[in-house]
Structures are given as C-alpha cells and as structure tokens.
C-alpha cells in the first residue's frame, strides 16, 4: 500500500453531469489508486493548480459538453508551462472519433469514449504513468 498512483479526476467546463466521472473515480479507487475528485465546473486554472499542489501523476478529465477541443489542450499547455510535463493527461466522455487524433497531437495521451470498460483505462494508466 506504500506508493499508490495519484490521479486527479477533473470535470472541466460547464456540463453539470458527473455520473461518469464518479464511476471512473470509484473504479480507480478499487484499482488501488488515490483519486482526488474536485467536483463540477472546473476551470483549466483550477485543474492545473490542483494537479500541481496534489503532485498527481495522472490528470483524467471527463467532459460531455463538447468543449474538449478547447479545454483539453489548454490544460496540457498550462501543465507544461508550470513544468509539470511529466503528468499523464487522459480524457473521456462524449468525444467524436474525428476529434481524437487532434487531441492526441495536442498532448492528451489517450481518449476513452462511452462504453470503454474501466479496466481499459486502468491498464492504460498503469502502463503509461511516470512514477515519482
């Protein structure tokens, strides 16, 4: 139990629905991770400050509003500007397939769309996280 992976599960933007984020947070918890959950309607600044203070290894963002192309890259860039470029950033939610290559190019490591088993996200994180 001595070095759990620390993950920030974040809900950027204005959608008011966090059932999916809670399901994934619970799944990460059951996989032995420490999950920091900060609630709805987070600005990129709030997400980045939290990621830094909590020294998380993973930022997992969930979004349903369609603003992913705008918000995900902002978070990635702000993390880089703060020198936290070793943080693994992943995204999930209602995201069209066509948008995924662009998001990956912007620095989001992986996108998990509806129907993805939680085990797949957990496996991806375990394989790609940079441990402290």
């Amino acid at each position: 139990m001595d070095k759990p992976i620390r993950v920030l599960v974040a809900k950027p933007g204005l959608d008011g629905h966090d059932r999916g984020a809670k399901v994934i947070a619970r799944a990460f918890r059951d996989a032995g991770m420490e999950v920091i959950y900060t609630g709805l309607r987070q600005t990129p600044e709030q997400i980045v400050e939290t990621a830094i203070q909590e020294d998380v290894e993973v930022v997992a963002m969930s979004i349903l509003s369609g603003a992913h192309n705008h918000l995900f890259p902002i978070v990635v860039n702000m993390l880089r500007e703060r020198g936290a470029d070793d943080v693994l950033v992943v995204g999930g939610g209602v995201i069209p397939d066509d948008d995924i290559p662009g998001l990956k190019e912007a620095g989001v490591a992986e996108i998990f769309t509806p129907g993805t088993p939680t085990t797949k996200a957990i496996e991806f994180i375990k394989q790609n996280v940079k441990r402290r």
Binding site: V35, E54, R82
Partner: protein
C-alpha cells in the same frame, strides 16, 4: 536548485513533491526537514475534526477565506480514508474548497490515511513541518470523519475545533467519551436546522462536568455554507491561541506532542527493523511456530527479539 533550496525559496512544486516523498517514506523528505528544522514551529496548527458529513471541509473553506482576507497565508492538509482492501482512496475534501484552488496564498494537499488509524495519515506531521518551513502562517488539518476514538488530531494541532451537527440526538452520548475530551472549541454547524439549541445545551452541560480547567471550551453555532458565524469562531480560535501562549500551555502541549511523536517514530523504526530482519537475523516465523508448539513461551520470544535489537 535542489528541492531543499526550492522549498526554502517558496517553490510550490517543490513543496508538492516533498509532500509526496513524505507520504511515500522517501528519505529525501526527512533529509530536507532535518536540514531546515530550525525553521519549523512558527506556523499555528488548527485541527478540524468531527463526524462524517458534519461540514468540516466547508467550515475549513470559510475559515481560510476569512484568514486570507486578513492577509494570512494558509496550508491545508485534508485527510480522507484509504480502503483497507485495495489501498485506494477517494479524496474529496477539495470539492468544498474550489474557490481556494487558485489563491496563491493557499496550498491544499489531500491525503489518504494509508492504513494509519487515529484519523490522520502517518505523513501528517511531516506535512505540517514542510508547510511550516515553506512559510505558511496557519496550517489546517482536516481529519477523516471521526467516530469515537480517532483522537490523533489532539497530538498534532495547537487548537482543535470539534465540528458537531444538530440531530445526532442521543448519539451524542456515545461519542462524548473520546471526542468530547479533545475539543478546544465546539462549533455546531448547520445551526439553522432544528435541534441546534438543544445540541448546544447538551454540550454545555457535559462541559459543566469538566474539572475546573483554566480553559472552558466555547460552544458556538455556525452555518458554514452561509458563511455565518465564522468571525465568532475565528475569535474563539484566537482567544485559545492567546490563552495557550500566555499560560505556558502552548509549550507544554507542543512538548507533549513531540514526546508522543518521538516514541511513535521509534516504535515504527523498531517494527521496520524486525520486519526487515525477520527471516534473516531474526527467525520470527520460527519463534512463532515454537510458541504455538509450546516449545517456547511468548515472553521469552519477545526477550529474544529485544536482545537482537540491542545488539
């Protein structure tokens, strides 16, 4: 610059990384605290404790905002329980503190208990020191939601605020033995609900039975979500702080806490030694088997282990 220099210079990321090291038992955190130990002791440490759902996070949020408005800097350590089955945790105290995230005068760290009982995590004291060295004026420790016996906060904080809620009714009888003894201040949150006055009277009556102490814990009614009663509560905290320093109790309290922590630390290290050496120099499993087989008694086995440690 190395982490130590960056911490001393007020680099937020260095503080964050050292807190991770402290939680993970990485010796670098201890090394930095050793080197900068002279800079510890100036922050004032406030413990916020109470049953689950009493409003500890919301109350912390509002108290911290009031302190920020007065120009003080604040560190917050928010502890939530770790699953004893998977080692995972949901750390959700930040949900009630969203407006503090981007305040540069506030640093919030969420911690899982990671198997530690007593309402705090093992790294809490190291975290307090690191935030203290970093230069925070006040450090808030929010415990896990407590039941009856999670009273470790009293060994770590200068002032303990016990957050209660109306409607626990007779349950209050059940918790008074452990918890009623550690509150320096009682805050009855959600005081707009029915029964707040009764709760206040019940607490006051129990405090009446305290043996004549120099400090009588004040009981105040607050509604944290509405930011109501925060000035009064903060006033009580300041009064308690003044009482502690003028009466000499602050030094006594901190001395007692250091003594406790030192013993805990030594106990941990002895256990670490035994675990590390078991099977090599120390045949713990063999000893256990011999005790079970009545080939040896348990006290002689303990003496055998102690002799190995003394060598």
């Amino acid at each position: 610059m190395n982490l130590q220099e960056r911490l001393a210079a007020g680099d937020v990321r260095a503080l964050a990384r050292l807190l991770t090291f402290a939680e993970n038992n990485d010796p670098e955190a201890e090394e930095v605290i050793k080197n900068l130990y002279g800079r510890t002791g100036s922050a004032y440490v406030i413990g916020i404790t109470g049953p689950p759902g009493a409003g500890k996070s919301t109350l912390t949020d509002k108290l911290v905002k009031t302190l920020r408005a007065r120009g003080n800097t604040v560190g917050i350590i928010a502890v939530d329980p770790t699953s004893p089955f998977t080692g995972g945790a949901i750390l959700g105290d930040r949900i009630r503190m969203q407006e503090l995230f981007t305040d540069p005068g506030v640093f919030i760290r969420s911690m899982g208990t990671r198997g530690h009982l007593g309402g705090l995590s093992k790294a809490t004291q190291a975290a307090v020191r690191l935030m203290d060295i970093f230069g925070k004026d006040y450090i808030f420790i929010e415990t896990v939601g407590v039941g009856q016996s999670e009273v470790d906060i009293v060994k770590t904080a200068d002032t303990v605020v016990m957050v209660m809620v109306p409607g626990l009714g007779d349950d209050i009888q059940a918790i008074k033995a452990g918890i009623m003894e550690i509150g320096d201040i009682f805050a009855i949150n959600k005081a707009d609900l029915d029964g707040a006055d009764r709760t206040k009277i019940e607490i006051e009556m129990m405090l009446d039975l305290n043996e004549n102490k120099a400090w009588r814990p004040p009981v105040c009614k607050v509604v944290a979500v509405e930011n109501s009663g925060m000035d009064i509560l903060l006033g009580h905290i300041q009064k308690h702080r003044m009482y502690l320093s003028e009466s000499g109790e602050l030094v006594k309290r901190r001395t007692r806490n250091i003594s406790n922590e030192l013993m805990d630390l030594v106990r941990d290290r002895v256990m670490e030694f035994i675990t590390r050496e078991s099977g090599r120099k120390l045949p713990v499993d063999d000893l256990v088997e011999r005790i079970v087989a009545k080939d040896m008694d348990i006290y002689s086995a303990a003496e055998y282990i102690m002799e190995a440690i003394n060598k």
